[in-house]
Symmetry: C4
Subunit: 231 residues, 4 copies
């Protein structure tokens, strides 16, 4: 079942090591079939060079494994909560990519220092708070998803398709797995450049003016976009 | 038309990902035929691994598309203004290469800390100011070119063939697309080394003496150059 | 003798340059056969691209060479002391990998800033003290092993399978050579991210909460582990 | 003439881009035949991927070109002065490798922070002073060599086979071109690690104890060396 989606999500997972975003098995991509209410996710702890499309696990929105021989990613309950909280998204990525993870470990949201950021993310990329001891005890991975959703209360997850989890690492999302991977790559580039930016100018007087942020985001997104070759 | 120039500019564009200067589609090269008053530029948002020489777009100095099926780079009006302001140049490159972009995001010109810089750039590489809200509204890409030209008033763009646009990234130029790419590669190396230099010596007492800057620039450029195998 | 172990340790050694952990000959892996009381180790100063499985040297727990034409790694007495001090381990790695070595040169233990660390190491990775002049004189490599053992007095080396030697570099260990290499790769990733974390947040208020460290370590290790596909 | 030496020096030059030490043509290796009083050096400004063994230029100790169609490296007079000042050396390398050049641009000698340094260099690697305006005018490249020789007055160039030229970059040397390249690679690794070391510990209380420096240098060099497989 869901052979095409499995193939897509397999390809999206394989893009992670190819783009230098994962060491060993430290990442996973899932993709959602909204009509059927099922999503497909990487099995837990499997080497990328042994992964096959048919190894993808099918999970329903109650978190039950519907198809697949192996255990799904241990982060499956986080993906599940994000699909429930953000109905417009169709793909999710989690990695420990080094630059984005360093910002997460620093416990800091990512300020908009330039147009590379503004082309993809409209405003600061937030850093979600730590879970409490109780939240960890009660269901660590599920509550990770709920805390991300809490972080986006009042924000549009399509305009800022990424979050950092404090002391952990990034999640990104998009209309499908491939787009979520694209944002994960962009996030890693931005967090690399923003770290160097702060080393070069620690005064923090160099934020991108709001009008410039709006210009760049809107020339690529929404009804008046003119970047690229149209839809 | 302009088949040879298209081929050259295609090759110059392909050099950008090969040299690690672009992620996804974040860069473009153009090249000018001064006799005909036409330039050739990469189409907007096209993947480098799908790009072909015949995809290059031909544009005239009024900004009209003269040939090509796709939309030209969204930065085309910036290239146009630079070709008008700097009559001696024949090629332009824009990238979001990480080290140069970090300096642009920091809003800082690049001081001459060594001979690698002095071999190619005679003096500081300037950082152009942000556009005003009005300039962004009136024609963002065109005004980006005008602000770069303003930054070089009284300066020789052939002696400092690069600029940083604040909160955005670098532009470089040269006698043709290949030379402009060469300078983009050099700029990335310099900005990497200069960041590390400042981390090692934050006192800023380590600028290159002017006589040493002159020596290095002039042994590679001008009538008394003796580096290389001559012309 | 020990052909299978030699092959394993050859493969583990070859993984070091493949993973970018060694320049020239700056690393070595050994593996232990506990039943026979013999271990196998790389010969000293041999290029990785000339190394063959049959070049591995067999050494006993008194430090005598039992088989092999070449000299064993000059770090052999350190490996020997670690096998004696930590009876549960079956493989040891030493490298000068750049990020881990930088922390060793800084003379600092590695704080737990995130879950990448907590997934593999339960608490800070210690930095062992410098040897005294007498210890260097009396038997530098042997005393290096004894000082590491001293550093772990009261600690479980299976829960923190790595150490930094001050002004020198890292050692890691595991149930076999392959696992020890795995930890050496992880250590390099962690030390890279932790350096960047400190640059982004020098206030040191961003340690990983203990409950989160416990959660991540215990979901991968011990009787209640649920990461991966089980044993 | 000197076909074997040309082949060796060609191979040593080609090692520079392979090891990531040069961008474009920013480096050169020479090698000396002491019996004949002739040295062989890379031609100036030639692309590495077009270089051939027969392109190497033969120069005598008065600086006359003895054989070769092209111009020798513009740094030839520097190599010449080093061969005259340091009679024990047989090969010289100059690069603009990024980490070593950053230290040169910072105008700082390289302290010994660890055994990676001590294994190859016995004590600090010095940074030579800037040339005066007169020295630049009178013969820039020749005086660069003389200032390096001045820097080593009272020091043994075989024990510290590298120097940084302020605001310029590194030179390394050895018994032949291959050994000089080996030291250039080691220098780049050390300068990378030492930069990170200072970011992690700016207090500078982490120099390698002298007894440890001596131990590491002497276990690899001199009559009591025991690292490797002997001579």
């Amino acid at each position: 079942m869901l052979e095409e989606l499995k193939e897509q999500i397999y390809e999206a997972n394989m893009e992670l090591p190819k783009r230098g975003l994962v060491t060993y098995t430290w990442g996973n991509v899932s993709g959602m079939d909204r009509e059927r209410g099922l999503f497909v996710i990487k099995p837990s702890g499997v080497d990328y060079n042994k992964l096959r499309p048919e190894d993808m696990i099918v999970v329903d929105l109650e978190g039950n494994k519907v198809e697949g021989e192996m255990n799904p990613s241990s982060d499956t309950p986080t993906h599940l909560e994000l699909y429930k909280a953000f109905p417009e998204i169709g793909g999710i990525v989690h990695t420990h990519s080094p630059f984005a993870t360093s910002w997460a470990q620093a416990g800091r949201g990512i300020p908009c220092y330039g147009t590379t950021h503004a082309d993809y993310f409209h405003g600061e990329i937030p850093c979600a708070r730590n879970l409490t001891a109780e939240e960890i005890e009660d269901g660590y991975e599920k509550n990770t998803g709920l805390v991300i959703a809490e972080t986006f209360r009042g924000k549009n997850p399509a305009h800022v398709p990424a979050v950092l989890c404090k002391n952990h690492g990034p999640f990104t999302w998009g209309k499908d797995g491939a787009e979520a991977v694209h944002y994960a790559v962009v996030l890693e580039e931005i967090t690399k450049m923003n770290l160097m930016t702060e080393l070069l100018n620690p005064t923090a007087d160099n934020r991108t003016p709001q009008c410039m942020q709006d210009k760049h985001f809107l020339r690529k997104h929404g009804p008046h976009a003119y970047y690229g070759q149209g839809k």
